[in-house]
């Protein structure tokens, strides 16, 4: 599985890349803009990401902006619905309006921090990213 991680805090980044590394190759970006760039690059190389883990609070572009950009790019290329990359937003923001907005914009999973790893793994299985 090809994974893209966007996280600006070093400790979280280390933790997530260690955890996700178990399931596949994990590329690391530290802000929203880098994440979108990385996504586009992989798409054009013909090796798109299967899963993107996006932090919400990031420099340059925040998680919502990155999410919008990624879904817009997919739409432009005719990638729709279930074919799109699975995006998990991770953040300490847990307010209902934040979750609603993320879902509206096409985020697949919204996970509060600290991350419930058991549920996380269950979801990866539900999304058929892992067995």
């Amino acid at each position: 599985m090809k994974i893209l991680l966007a996280e600006d805090d070093f400790a979280s980044r280390k933790f997530m890349s260690n955890y996700l590394g178990k399931y596949g190759d994990c590329d690391i970006t530290v802000d929203g803009e880098e994440a979108v760039d990385a996504f586009l690059m992989a798409l054009e190389d013909g090796e798109p990401y299967d899963l993107i883990c996006l932090d919400v609070m990031m420099p340059v572009l925040d998680g919502y902006q990155a999410l919008k950009a990624i879904r817009d790019i997919e739409k432009e290329r005719g990638i729709q619905g279930n074919d799109g990359v699975k995006i998990i937003m991770t953040t300490a923001l847990n307010e209902e309006r934040n979750v609603k907005k993320a879902f509206e914009m096409g985020c697949t999973v919204y996970s509060g921090k600290p991350i419930d790893l058991k549920k996380f793994e269950l979801i990866l299985k539900k999304l058929e990213l892992i067995d």
């Binding site: 990031m58 420099p59 572009l61 925040d62 300490a92 847990n94 209902e96 309006r97 919204y110 539900k126």
Partner: protein
């Protein structure tokens, strides 16, 4: 539950919404339990509730809740589509309540931060079998089954954070010894090691890495951090470790708000103002509250400061119908209004004003206006804390249903005056006592169907729960038409348990005998049932009621039923009192307790050989207390014809006290006797008068009890 919490968080929203749905569901079910079947409206309501819970629990991945609600939704789907006849109603009611209880149990676990690990398979199986019978019934009738109610998996999911509700906030301060070098670097080392285990932190001084001068600041004032983490104080201390030069480390708990205010005191906004989203679909609100992409871009990444986001927190005040306010703020407000009343008195009764010949007409007018406003302010503030008893009373429905069913009794609960409002504090303290009293009525009060028929009563028992406001007090009455209390049995049990010494039954009034059941260690039930009879209930009930200044009255008629009345004063803090002088001390008595003032002639005073005195008034004999003797006061009147006798009443008991003179009637703020003063019988508090002096508040009940015990 359901009162103060933040309904913005996804998890809280889920919990709140689901609980509301389940509460409504339970009410619907209990309302219709005696019917033959559910009507269309109820079926739809129950279906909708289960459908919503199924959906939201699915998104949040609480699988057991999803499965069980889907199963029940299935049943009601068939009921809605096919309208089968002869559905076993009581069995269905049981299943619905079972599901409701299961889900509530899981929701409780989630709220406490535990895993909702309940096993739903048994319930699902039972409902499945029930459903199969219904489906068979439909097919037998020759009707076609509607299309399957298949479960569609959600496409988006929300994972609730683990234990973030239990994040703790601390203020950590490190001090180094005076001769230590490079404290700024040492401070940074501490920050670095803490970063592993904290979720968020800020510190001051901030530029420890770049600015050497901070080392001196740290030496002088210490290095301070605000941290948010799951760790305990011990874990924090051991992570910081002990390096050379460190003098000591201080850790204090702090609140979330203190953490968020940080060291710079940017936003002093403490009151959490939430909106009761009654019209969540409203366009206007959506525009103001929706997060916009770009709000969360991190602007200033500076060391030591918490993340600054691009979005401003606009302080809008959209339309609101309800405001959820921190209860501590309300308490503070209550205290302040008390102080205001005292201050008002100090101003209005100021000795400076007692200049003879001063024309105070304008002043009096203004003072009157001031008094009016303060009284109004008082009323509004008291009313802010008032909540209706509806919720509390609704809970009783379920208890009556459960207990009566388990005991095989048929009982109806009648609720009157549930819209009566009482102070929030009172509700919290009487909820448990009420449940106990209701359980008692169901368990001990109401007889079995056979007994009732034999006695010529309606086989269906009736319990009435009534609330009303009267004379500054709230009355909550639990009345049953059961078998009542047997005075002889009560007397004997009390005697056998050594609770009343050797006194004969005739020495007690009826009411006093009934009160025996509130004594600790008393129980007339031979067997201890699951619900009552263990003898530890009623005395705790009475304690709880007394802790809010109320009391419990018991009345009964053997064969006809019993009546338990909770009498609770609406407010303890500010009362109308009469100020009086005895010697050089000032006392205050609650106006309600004063029956009359009389001047006594010497021949009305009766003195017993043992020194006790009584007053004969209109052929009635009252115990008599000389306050000057009781409290060893000097310079007071001793001749009975010089002073005034005040006749006081408390709960139908009377007592007379002797005072020198009356001073005034006024509103006083009751303050507790400070803890450094030992408890004195007969005094329940103190207050500050307009001239600044202190008056003691007489406790009538205490005085009367003191006399009786002699």
């Amino acid at each position: 539950m359901g009162e103060d919490f933040n309904t913005d968080s996804m998890l809280d929203m889920f919990l709140y919404e689901s609980e509301q749905l389940l509460e409504t569901l339970e009410n619907v079910v209990l309302e219709k339990k005696d019917e033959d079947c559910f009507d269309e409206a109820s079926i739809n309501e129950i279906f909708r509730a289960m459908h919503t819970i199924k959906g939201s629990s699915g998104i949040m991945m609480y699988e057991n809740i999803t499965k069980v609600s889907h199963k029940l939704e299935d049943v009601f789907y068939y009921l809605r589509e096919s309208h089968p006849e002869n559905v076993p109603h009581l069995e269905l009611v049981d299943h619905v309540l079972e599901v409701s209880d299961f889900i509530n149990g899981e929701l409780d676990k989630i709220r406490e931060g535990e895993t909702p690990d309940g096993d739903e398979s048994k319930i699902v199986d039972e409902i499945d079998k029930f459903l199969t019978r219904i489906k068979t019934g439909i097919e037998k009738k020759g009707d076609e089954l509607p299309p399957e109610n298949t479960y569609v998996e959600p496409e988006q999911f929300y994972i609730a954070p683990t234990g973030s509700e239990s994040s703790k906030y601390y203020k950590v301060s490190i001090y180094w010894r005076g001769d230590t070098q490079m404290c700024n670097i040492r401070a940074y080392t501490a920050v670095y090691s803490l970063k592993e285990i904290v979720e968020d932190m800020q510190y001051i001084p901030e530029d420890i890495i770049t600015n050497e001068a901070t080392s001196e600041v740290i030496l002088a004032e210490g290095f301070h951090m605000l941290v948010k983490c799951q760790a305990t104080e011990e874990e924090l201390i051991s992570t910081i470790g002990e390096t050379s030069g460190m003098d000591h480390v201080e850790i204090h708990d702090c609140t979330k708000q203190e953490f968020e205010m940080g060291f710079h005191h940017q936003e002093e906004d403490n009151i959490v103002i939430e909106l009761d989203d009654k019209d969540k679909g409203s366009e206007e609100k959506k525009e103001k509250k929706e997060p916009t992409p770009g709000d969360y871009v991190i602007k200033n990444k500076e060391s030591g400061k918490s993340k600054k986001l691009a979005k401003n927190q606009p302080k809008q005040q959209p339309k609101q119908t309800y405001i959820s306010v921190n209860v501590e703020k309300l308490d503070a407000l209550m205290d302040m209004i008390g102080e205001l009343v005292i201050s008002e008195a100090v101003v209005l009764q100021n000795p400076d004003l007692k200049v003879p010949g001063l024309d105070l007409t304008n002043f009096q007018k203004a003072a009157g206006q001031l008094s009016k406003i303060t009284t109004e302010l008082q009323d509004v503030i008291m009313s802010m804390r008032m909540m209706s008893l509806t919720n509390t009373f609704q809970k009783m429905n379920r208890i009556v249903f459960d207990v009566s069913r388990k005991l095989g009794k048929d009982i109806e609960l009648e609720v009157i005056g549930e819209n009566t409002e009482v102070d929030k504090n009172i509700i919290e303290h009487i909820s448990d006592p009420l449940m106990h009293l209701i359980r008692n009525s169901v368990d001990h009060g109401i007889e079995s169907k056979e007994d009732r028929i034999a006695a010529g009563k309606n086989p269906k028992g009736k319990i009435t729960l009534e609330a009303k406001n009267e004379g500054g007090k709230v009355y909550i009455i639990v009345r049953d038409d059961g078998k009542g209390l047997n005075k002889q049995a009560l007397y004997e049990k009390a005697k056998n348990n050594g609770l009343i010494g050797n006194r004969a039954m005739s020495e007690f009034t009826e009411k006093e005998i009934y009160q025996f059941i509130t004594y600790a260690g008393f129980s007339t039930k031979e067997q201890v049932t699951e619900y009552s009879g263990r003898g530890v209930g009623m005395d705790v009930v009475v304690k709880n009621i007394q802790s809010v200044g109320g009391n419990l009255e018991i009345d009964s008629m053997e064969g006809a039923g019993s009546e338990m009345t909770l009498k609770i004063p609406l407010t303890l803090a500010i009362i109308n009192g009469i100020v009086m002088q005895v010697g050089n001390s000032t006392f205050v008595i609650e106006t309600n307790a004063v029956k009359e003032f009389v001047r006594i002639r010497r021949d009305m005073l009766v003195k017993e050989p043992d020194g006790e005195e009584y007053i004969m008034l209109r052929n009635e004999c009252y115990p008599f207390i000389r306050l000057n003797q009781r409290y060893h006061l000097e310079e007071s009147k001793t001749d009975i014809e010089d002073g005034i006798v005040v006749v006081l009443e408390h709960e139908s008991k009377f007592i007379c006290v002797f005072i020198d003179e009356l001073i005034a009637e006024q509103e006083i703020v009751v303050k507790p006797i400070p803890s450094y003063i030992r408890k004195v019988q007969g005094l329940s508090g103190c207050t500050q008068l307009g001239d600044g002096s202190i008056a003691l508040i007489l406790d009538i009940a205490g005085l009367i009890a003191g006399e009786e015990r002699k």
